[in-house]
Amino acid sequence: MDNIFTATFFVSIFASTIRLATPILLTALGEIYTQRSGILNLGLEGTMTMSAMAGFVCAYFSKNLFIGFLGGIIVGMICSAFMAFLSITVRANQVIAGTALTILGIGFSSFIYRIIFGIQKLPPQVESLTKFDIPLLSSIPYIGTIFFQHNLIVYLAYILAVFSWIVLEKTTFGLNVKAVGEHPRAADSKGINVSKVRYTAVIIGGAFAGLSGAFMSIAYMNSFSDTMIAGRGFIAVAVVVFARWNPLRAMVGSLLFGIASALQIRFQAIGVPIPNQFLLMLPYLVTIIALITVSKKAEFPSAYTKPYSRMER
């Protein structure tokens, strides 16, 4: 008991923190594009489940993980295009549309999976993505194990965080996304096609959620179950708010959720009598507190959850 807090313990905790934060980070990054454009996509849980299923099915039949990831991304984009259609074209309530998408996504993925594979004693499996040790860096003691001995998607997620920050802060496209989220009418009068930008932003969000869903079934695990996303889609929404729509802060938020679950898994495994539920609760509490401070400063995109119509004043 006394010597569990050794260097090995911390190294393995931090390494799994980085791995566990990956699906949350990926989904949150996509949702930042979506929310910045003024759309709240609450259907990420369903999108991720669909992509986890699609990624698994594609990888299983093609025996190729790359096709699995591609399948997951495409299905993620299709799901979010549906969300975009409901919230932009139909101008339906986004909270309810997201709820519908979550119910539908989980229902459809479990239905399709059962139709394809039926009931089997052993769940069908794929060879999941192996880890890739980055040469030289991975052999640095401690640091190497924590940061440089993961699979490629893990590295990609953190690279995409920096990339997304650049896209949103330094490019015209990023500026347009923020403009339609802040003041769609002004953006419209400047000649920005509000629906087009919003559709693009929501579908980009779907691509990220799709990669993240496929990560769950063919890189983090090697099989599919309709409960495997386990709330990560909703956690990603929390991370986005926590991060105040900044991709780099989303990295911090995802790591916070990651370390909470890493510690919880480890404590449970070694039977430490610390109530780990409080640990798991902590990120949600922090999110509420973050939300209070954010809302006061009114950092929400001004047109958040508001459909845009040219005809309305």
């Binding site: 339906a92 309530n93 549309a97 519908a100 119910i103 539908l104 229902g107 929404v237 109530p275």
Partner: protein
């Protein structure tokens, strides 16, 4: 009188249309999956109605769903998107069991106190989100969702920790509440209990509520800040009251499940009730009677869905798909309806000007 019947038909017809649409889409999916849709739905109905136990189950499941959907509907009327009914329900179950296990009171006061605690617990859990919205402008979608998770982990903490049954062989569950505290069963060999009368009483209270001043104020507040401000309504206060009541009803649903069905705390008691309650409230058009009918309909789907899976091999998830489709139809219809109303007014204005 015929006008009234007309009005009822007008209210029910679209709901029936949307349900049929969803069932029809479900049938197409069944055909694609290589099965017979008629056999599937027949199995579903058989699973829900073929014997008295199953029929009683349809009512057993409908009670908490209806109570939670009624709660959700109060918030939705005020355009507050309470998606954390599951968490408010969970707090209700926790407080009910605490009263039953640790307050050494005679049976009747215990049941009543448990009811009050469950209501207050659910109300405070919802009201907290309402207060955060009123005070800090914190988006209720996020806060109710976060509070939902916090409640789930709080429940897990209690059943793994301080409230774990000392004679329960380490299972994550609390001790069972005393026999005298259980709601009496209504039929032999079924689980239907007297909680249904409480649910019916609350249904009637809700019908009256929308005719009361407070109900009217909540509805008015939902029409937009300006409308209600001109009517002299304190919007912030109404937001908090709305969420208190909304959460309170889910708390009562928790009380009902503890005293009538579960009799103890276990992990994840709320399951997916929170999201089903949203679907029911919407299909019921936020109207108490509509909600009662759609709660029963969904309960039939849930009870029959398992039998369908066992008899025909069609996955239970078809029920989820039908639920999701119904929501899509409802919101699409609502959106188009508001659209047409707006176009109508705009046309009138133009005609007036021209």
């Amino acid at each position: 009188m015929s006008k009234k019947i007309n009005k009822i038909i007008q209210a029910i017809f679209p709901a029936l249309l949307m349900v049929s649409g969803a069932l029809l889409t479900g049938a197409i999916l069944i055909i694609i999956s290589g099965n017979d849709p008629i056999a599937a739905y027949a199995a579903l109905l058989e699973g829900a109605f073929s014997n008295s136990y199953r029929i009683s189950e349809t009512f057993v499941k409908a009670i908490p769903l209806m109570l939670m959907a009624l709660g959700v509907s109060i918030a939705f009327k005020n355009q507050i998107w309470n998606i954390g009914a599951g968490g408010q329900f969970t707090i209700g179950t926790i407080l009910s069991v605490i009263v039953c296990l640790y307050f050494k009171l005679p049976p009747i006061p215990t049941i009543i106190l448990s009811f009050i605690f469950a209501f207050i617990g659910g109300a405070l859990w919802g009201g907290l989100a309402g207060w955060l919205k009123a005070r800090f402008n914190a988006n209720e979608v996020i806060t109710t969702l976060m509070l939902d998770y916090i409640a789930t982990y709080l429940l897990a903490y209690l059943v793994y920790g301080p409230m774990m049954d000392p004679n329960g062989f380490g299972y994550p569950q609390s001790a069972v509440i005393e026999k005298v505290l259980r709601l009496p069963k209504l039929i032999v060999g079924g689980r239907l209990h007297t909680g249904i009368f409480v649910a019916i009483a609350i249904l009637f209270l809700m019908l009256l509520f929308w005719r009361s001043t407070l109900g009217f104020k909540i509805e008015l507040a939902g029409q937009g800040n300006d409308v209600s401000r001109y009517a002299g309504i304190d919007n912030k206060k109404i937001i908090v009251i709305t969420m208190l009541l909304s959460g309170g009803l889910s708390g009562i649903a928790g009380w009902n499940e503890i005293h009538g069905i579960h009799l103890r705390l276990m992990t994840d008691l709320a399951g997916s009730y929170g999201s089903i309650a949203i679907v029911i409230a919407l299909l019921g058009n936020l109207n108490p009677l509509g909600i009662a009918i759609s709660a029963y309909f969904f309960s039939v789907l849930i009870v029959g869905g398992n039998t369908m899976q066992n008899l025909t091999g069609i996955p239970y998830s078809l029920v989820d798909i039908i639920q999701g489709l119904i929501v899509v139809f409802v919101i699409t219809r609502t959106a188009f309806r508001t659209e047409s109303i707006q176009t109508f007014f705009r046309k009138r204005r133009y005609q007036h000007n021209g």
